[in-house]
Amino acid sequence: MSLQAVLPDTISGLLGLEGILGDVVGGLVGAFLIANIMLIMTAFAGPWAKRKITAAFGDRIAVNRIGPFGLLTIVTDAVRLLSKELIVPEGVDRPAWDLAPMVIPFSALLGFAVIPMGNGIQLADPETGLAFAFAAASIASLGIVMTGYASNNKFSLIGALRAVASNIAYEIPLVVTAASVVIFAGSLRMSEIVAVQAEPLLSVAGVTIPTWFAFVNPFAFALFIIANLAEVGRNPFDIPEAPTEIVAGFQTEYSSVYFVLIYLGEFIHIFLGGAIAATLFLGGPAGPVLPGFVWFTIKIWAFFLFTQWARSAIPRLRVDQFLEIGWKGMLVLSFANLVLTAIIVGVIV
């Protein structure tokens, strides 16, 4: 299987640069491009799409005053949030408190480095791409712990502890479920996982259904989506934030720019969750007619929509029930899934 050229190479090729200079410039420009794509998506998702979607579920109209469909709300929201005073509470642990709002969005952005978004948009394609994506995504937990510890606020502390507990409980099922995909694909390299899914599974009335792992193993897909919801901290698993219980959880004390960064980080994290799910189970950027990048965008937005839908319809679990489901339910099921997949793959192949 020939590897597609990754984005930095394409860029340095276009600029006619070679050697280390080409790598550096290509990498930087590529990273800048991808980060901006994600930030733009988040800008749409955070102040605008989230409101529209929630409103639709609640029979409301929602933002429609500024600009077409209220789209310029994004601009006004940005101005509003950035012009607010940054309140630094008494007794915060300064370096950690300042660092945490950067760690959270950057860890999520980092995960996108290895995601193939179609049309050759992929920053790097290392052999251990999947492991890298998970590792990068879970750095966000570190950021959350930092916010909770540094804020000098009891609600933040409880939120952070909850975040740690939920991450440990759900990271394992998440990775184990992903491992079952790796068994199918036989590689950790993202591009290969995508490539494997392009092969036809079966043909029904002239329509070819590809071997997307969501079709091959829907059970693993469901497990992965649930664990993913918990991983990105969305309802019914938004335990670390839990507005009605612990005010705003780990981000209680954050305002202004820092709040925006954390907020952005959460949304990018949702998109990263969607991106990993799409890559592992939905064939990545694959899809008919439209270009790959469009399909990829549609898939991660579908995941975003799903999180919002769940938010409007599913009650939050209590923290002990949540952990119980994680340790006693998800973990067992994910290992069962892994073992079964291994046996089936071993027998068939």
């Binding site: 639709a56 029979d59 409301r60 839908w309 319809a313 599913i314």
Partner: protein, 153 residues
């Protein structure tokens, strides 16, 4: 699991039917019922300065100043303090004070809400509805017929 799916189905149905319950407020002015109690309108021509409204007002919102011959000089009403109980309208024997359906009032400071009789006279009708007409069927139980045409302008 079925219960969760049922809940998700309900919200999805609501999302897809596209119906909204909220309205775009300034563009779509809400229907206000004829009995609605909003900002007061006062008619000096009708007022006989009996001070009943001042007496009945539960929280001293109305202030009337008379000269030594008991002619009315001032009629002040703090519409920000008012609790819109409509007792003043109820006791008024000549329909001199009326609560319009106008609920839209704003001011920069609390003091701007102290309306004198000129300001009270100029309070607009909401959607040009004269509540006296719409309240007509109910009025006999409470206020006697006023004399002649009502002239608020």
């Amino acid at each position: 699991m079925i219960g969760i799916l049922k809940g998700m189905a309900v919200t999805l149905r609501h999302a897809l039917d596209g119906e909204t319950f909220t309205v775009e407020y300034p563009e779509t002015a809400p229907e206000v019922s004829p009995r609605f109690r909003g900002v007061h309108k006062f008619s000096q021509e009708r007022c006989i300065w009996c001070r009943q409204c001042e007496n009945v007002c539960p929280n001293d919102t109305i202030q009337i100043v008379q000269d030594d011959k008991r002619n009315g000089e001032q009629y002040n009403l703090h519409i920000g303090q008012c609790i819109y109980c409509r007792l003043c309208e109820e006791v008024c024997p000549v329909d001199a004070i009326l609560l319009t359906q106008n609920f839209e009032f704003t001011a920069d400071t609390k003091n701007d809400f102290v309306y004198n009789k000129e300001q009270l006279k100029n309070v607009p009708w909401y959607k040009d509805i004269d509540p006296l007409n719409s309240r007509n069927p109910d009025r006999n139980a409470w206020i006697g017929e006023g004399e002649g045409e009502v002239d608020y302008q």
